[in-house]
Symmetry: C2
Subunit: 245 residues, 2 copies
């Protein structure tokens, strides 16, 4: 399981690059395969599939590995954060393949850390990450997580804020957070971090516009002390109260 | 602000490497400077300081930048997660230096993502990250965050689980989480991920031993569906309930 990082090759680790270089087969969502330099894929079997074929994609990767081939299954960001490392482990478990192959996860820079870097320093204090996708998780569980994260003053990263099937979920989430935080709380909206078409916006809970987000957007919602500084987002850790800075 | 990643050079991004290469001055905690290959530091001013001189270290970095030098301030993991990006922004704000310099954060693979990769796939669902350090945060706020994260069934990453001054905080945190989760919930304990002396342990809420952790340890506490599979930690995302895998 290979984490490609946010997208730009300059943020892909040498370890990830080496794993792809050594692989016989590279498996991944079509959009992620495109993030890899073509020369690195030369001479390899490349199995790419569209967005909705996640189970099929992982099954193919497992089948190839069990057949004795060296497989790099690539994910953008980190393979262990809302990606495919878990599903591959479930397949290995279900079919009792763990003793037949060597399974390794190569971490990558997660999408929310990339978004945070482009925004400034919004994650400097405790944070929670919530996906708004209710394909595999009941919405009331998602709502409870948002409510608890807001109540405990976590900085909140939001993944999968919108899809064609699920209009309104982001606004529902924002409204829950506004029960606990002022409307002027900074919100960072990052589309396509470190990829072509990158867009970074700093708005507030009061001015979030659902039209600005799609399924590739990550939002970062400040905690009660997050503020805008020089057009960037800052969540102070507390040094200024304790030390003379 | 340069994120070095967990430690091993093979997980440091080319962008981070390039930023250090281009710098006149490299500033960082002594332990982080040691993670950088000596040849990359050749001919540069290296300003390293011990653990407790965070404000002084950031002030020196800012002073050098304002004097017109190209500064790489290095952090292990990601500079925006429990690291120095925020304090540097506070200094730039306090002294009104934002218009004088160009401030950039280069993200890195965070410590908890590195720990998760070594454990298997524990972060596959929504997660929260909490630091147990009460140097800058009141303990009752930390307790509330742990309680809310446990109640909402977040996977929980714990940073700074122990220090000489603060015995007992980890056990206090575990006891709060046990109010919401069974004692057999898997807990991953990772020391020095991807560094010399790396140690990865899989225990449970009932068997966490405070002697196994220090300030460099990251713990990952499973949610209600996390389980041990082939000696690894897996938080299933929910595919098995919805699809035939």
């Amino acid at each position: 399981m290979v984490g490609l990082g946010p997208g730009d090759e300059c943020l892909m680790s040498p370890h990830a690059r080496e794993a792809i270089h050594l692989a016989d087969v590279v498996v991944g969502y079509t959009g992620y395969i495109k993030l890899i330099a073509p020369d690195l894929l030369e001479g390899k079997d490349v199995l790419s599939t569209g967005m909705m074929a996640e189970v099929e994609r992982c099954r193919r990767a497992v089948d190839e590995a069990v057949a004795g081939r060296n497989v790099a299954m690539v994910c953008s960001g980190d393979p262990g954060i809302y990606a495919m490392a878990g599903l591959v482990m479930e397949l290995l478990e279900t079919h009792d393949f763990f003793s037949d192959i060597c399974f390794e996860v190569i971490p990558g820079i997660p999408a929310f850390a990339a978004a945070a870097a482009l925004l400034g320093a919004p994650l400097m204090h405790d944070f929670a990450s919530v996906s708004l996708s209710d394909l595999l998780t009941p919405w009331d569980k998602i709502e409870k997580r948002i409510r608890c994260a807001a109540d405990a003053d976590f900085v909140i990263a939001i993944y999968n804020p919108r899809s064609k099937k699920r209009a309104g979920h982001l606004i529902d989430a924002i409204n829950i957070i506004k029960l606990f935080r002022r409307g002027s709380t900074p919100v960072g909206i990052v589309n396509r971090a470190y990829r072509e078409g990158q867009k970074v916006q700093l708005v507030t809970l009061d001015t979030v516009n659902e039209q600005d987000v799609d399924m590739q957007t990550v939002l970062i919602i400040g905690n009660s002390s997050t503020r805008e500084v020089a057009g960037k987002m800052l969540t102070p850790r507390g040094y200024a109260g304790k030390y003379d800075i």
